[in-house]
Amino acid sequence: MYGYVGKILRVNLTTRKISTINTEDYKEWGGGHGMGSAIFWDLCPDKTVDGRDPRNVITIMTSPLSGTLVPAASGRTEVQGIGIQGHPIGWYTRSNFGGRFGAQLKYAGWDGIVLEGRADKPVWIDIRNGNVKIRDGGHLWGLDTWATQEEIWQEVSDGQGFGNWVEIDSWRDRGRTTQRPAVLTIGRVGELQSPLGCLIHDAGNGAGQGGFGGVFGSKNLKAISVIGTGSIDIAHPAMLMNARLWTREKYGFNVEAPAADVGSFNFPAGPGATPYLPPGIGQRPQGCTGCHKMCRGRSAGGGNESHCVDYLFYNNYDAAKHGQITHHLLQAADLVQKAGINVYQMQTGLIWLNHLYQQGILGPGKQIDCDLPFDQLGDYVFVERMVEQIEKQEGIGKYLFKGLAQAAIDLGRYEQDLRSGILPLQEWGYSHHYDARTEVEWGYGSLLGSRDCNDHDFNVCCYWTPSICALFGAEFPVSAAELAAIIAEKCVPYSDPLMADYSDEGIYKEPMAKLVQWHRHYSNYYKQSLLFCDWAYADFVNPYAEGKKGLTGEAEPKFFTAVTGIEQSFEEGIEIGRKIWNLDRAIWALQGRHRDQEVFADYIYEVGAQPGYTTYEIPYVMPVYENGQWQYKALSGRTLDRQKVEDWKTIYYKLEGWDPNTGRPTRRTLEGLGLKEVADELEKNGKLGA
């Protein structure tokens, strides 16, 4: 096989049995998420178990593109299993992280890892090419994520250190490497099985959503280390090299002559870390394996590999306190990475606690007793104290430790604070990220799934770019009509000229359902399974490209064919995405999912969208089609209409071939996708759509 390396590692932590699964058996799913869901379906017979149950099966999957020269598709790794973060049910869910782990796993000869069972004491998994050991992790338990990795590095190097070639096996027969092992690990909150627990790799690559750090903790698994010296065979090497250079020449950031790409942070974007760092600090942009754009950085003052919400959870507090971003922010970012704690929950938690503090409800001796030093909000010490209380489950930390939804329930604040929006958990107990009231495709996609979807495809071109241009008076890179036309052209096979209509009426119509349908299917296959990075793909509007049309639709199949030798059209990939989406939907149905549960938090229906109130959003300016013409329009202040959302759901379910009364897949739909046994299982459990 080309692209794939042929084997998936299967580790049963209870029995300590190590075995392999043939990748070929799951190749039809592409890789990553598709393979992970199919393996989960096969190996987790009772899909209703809690995420901390040893019967929960966790998959950590690469793609055929991992470890190759495909730009922004080489460094991602997909994690799946039953999560513990979602509310009221953890749901079968996913997360994803960047860095080097997936590439090293491929070089070691593995397309993925499947974890089953629970170890009887703390362990870590040591993978050196085909040599896999479950090692005692007692000495690592209690260490932060960075210290754990450095300790494992030393153990794997066996005293050789780094900075030179390191022999991990027989040099003559298996080669050697200059690379450090790629380690995926958890911090203290993960060890304690908190839903706030993340998986952390290197300094700042985190799989946060889903609470998989806590799931690792429940399995007594501190870390997985992998180092490899093997090869990934490429079907068409010259085609791959030429395609990479084609994207560089036609679509990529040009350091010699940067385009004026206002508000874009996907494929054509340049280095991304600079705005988060204090002025004047020495730094470099830094990227995952094979990346072409380097969205994060390393600096002389810390904050290594943190970016986006790793900083944004605290940058405004720092700036408000000190007049500008300071070293306090870098220290805070480093701390949350070391602690392995979900930064989105930190961000939302800070918003919530601060509101309660401002209202006189929370504080020393108040209704909610809390001794966090709010007079020092903006200083590093505030975050340090908050993390410490969570890790020690003391003070307010004993509530936050359980996740924000459960914390609010325990404190008697859940219903009222979700209604007012001061606790912005938009759906499934996950933190408000982008606003369902304005950027509806984000909200709908999250609601129909299992977590905050975190898919920026339309978020960049339909929200950030026009909103930044409007905010700063810059010229829009394309008109609203041009944007709508590009989206309609690229969103095959669901193309509709009105699918990018975010108007008050358009968001409830079938074209928007088609956009969400394409979004789910594209993401399920191309981003979650082939592991094209969300911060580069999809690329709709590109300032370097002819006609400003991005590379999506042409690039994805070109790279897939170059690596695997498999001729597969873009639409065929979308169809695999539909199949994966339906399999996930079937798993959720077995867990009890019903359309009646698919509702947003009350504030989405009752309080007008207030950008900056819930997260780091700016006022939403998005394309609308009104009075027979396209324009960009400010949408802040909007609420969603409950009944219209329900009506839209019915439209969507019908488009997907799901039962509109339950939202569950039907036999006809599943069998049409080759998933007869899935339909049989749903029917056996009374969960098949009618």
Binding site: E150, S231, I234, P237, V255, T274, Q283, R284
Partner: protein
């Protein structure tokens, strides 16, 4: 000596000193000089390569795309261990010490070639005197790897094809149709997203890394992006 003469040029003492950039060649190669050079009216040496790779370690983003491209065009595979340029990094180290790029220097005195007992590693006159390995002649003794004075050694042991290999400036790339070598393109240079790797025909200063690790950030948008140019 006969073999060496075939791969050699005669340089006047003046041009030799110019080539060495007026630096303390004796300090760098003193132990080897008598074995190579007739220090008389004419100096007999292995000819200098007609091309060199320069890097800017403060500009490197650590994406290892150069390594992936190198392995791809030479081997038709992706394998960091088979890349002829190596990027080492430590996530937890502070800038600028978190990354180093380690490329072959195409040394004016190639200790690797000198060490090769079968003349498999030579300065190939048909490819601009790039120091490269003829895999058919390599017997796998690894003496070239041991002889490389750099750390990490810039010669790799190809454990899959079972021979030594090194940077050839893309003179021989079975999996890339571009003309390579000193008069062509180099995959690592072509692919680097930030132009942190550069090709030059000028012989870099031959003391330490000074001539090979350079500042490539002064004449593009690096500074305008708020990134350091010093």
């Amino acid at each position: 000596m006969a073999d060496r003469k075939r791969n050699s040029k005669e340089y006047s003492r003046r041009s030799f000193l110019k080539m060495a950039s007026g630096t303390a060649v004796g300090l760098a190669f003193g132990g080897f000089l008598p074995r190579l050079i007739n220090v008389d009216d004419h100096a007999l040496i292995i000819p200098a390569s007609e091309g060199y790779i320069l890097v800017d370690t403060k500009k490197c983003g650590g994406c290892v795309s150069c390594m992936l491209a190198c392995s791809l065009v030479h081997e038709g595979k992706e394998n960091l261990s088979l890349s002829r340029i190596q990027v080492l990094q430590n996530s937890f180290e502070k800038y600028p010490n978190d990354i180093s790029q380690e490329q072959c220097k195409q040394c004016t005195f190639p200790a690797c070639a000198e060490a090769c007992p079968t003349k498999a590693l030579t300065a190939d006159p048909t490819k601009g005197h790039v120091r490269l390995v003829d895999s058919r002649k390599c017997i796998g003794c690894m003496q070239c790897i041991q002889a490389c004075p750099q750390q990490p050694a810039r010669i790799q042991w190809n454990h899959e094809a079972r021979h030594s290999q090194k940077c050839d400036l893309c003179s021989v790339t079975p999996y890339w149709e571009e003309k390579g070598g000193p008069d062509g393109k180099q995959a690592c240079v072509a692919v680097c997203p930030f132009n942190a790797i550069k090709f030059t025909k000028e012989i870099p200063t031959q003391v330490g890394d000074f001539g090979y690790k350079v500042n490539l950030r002064k004449h593009d948008a690096w500074g305008a992006l708020g990134l350091p140019t010093d």
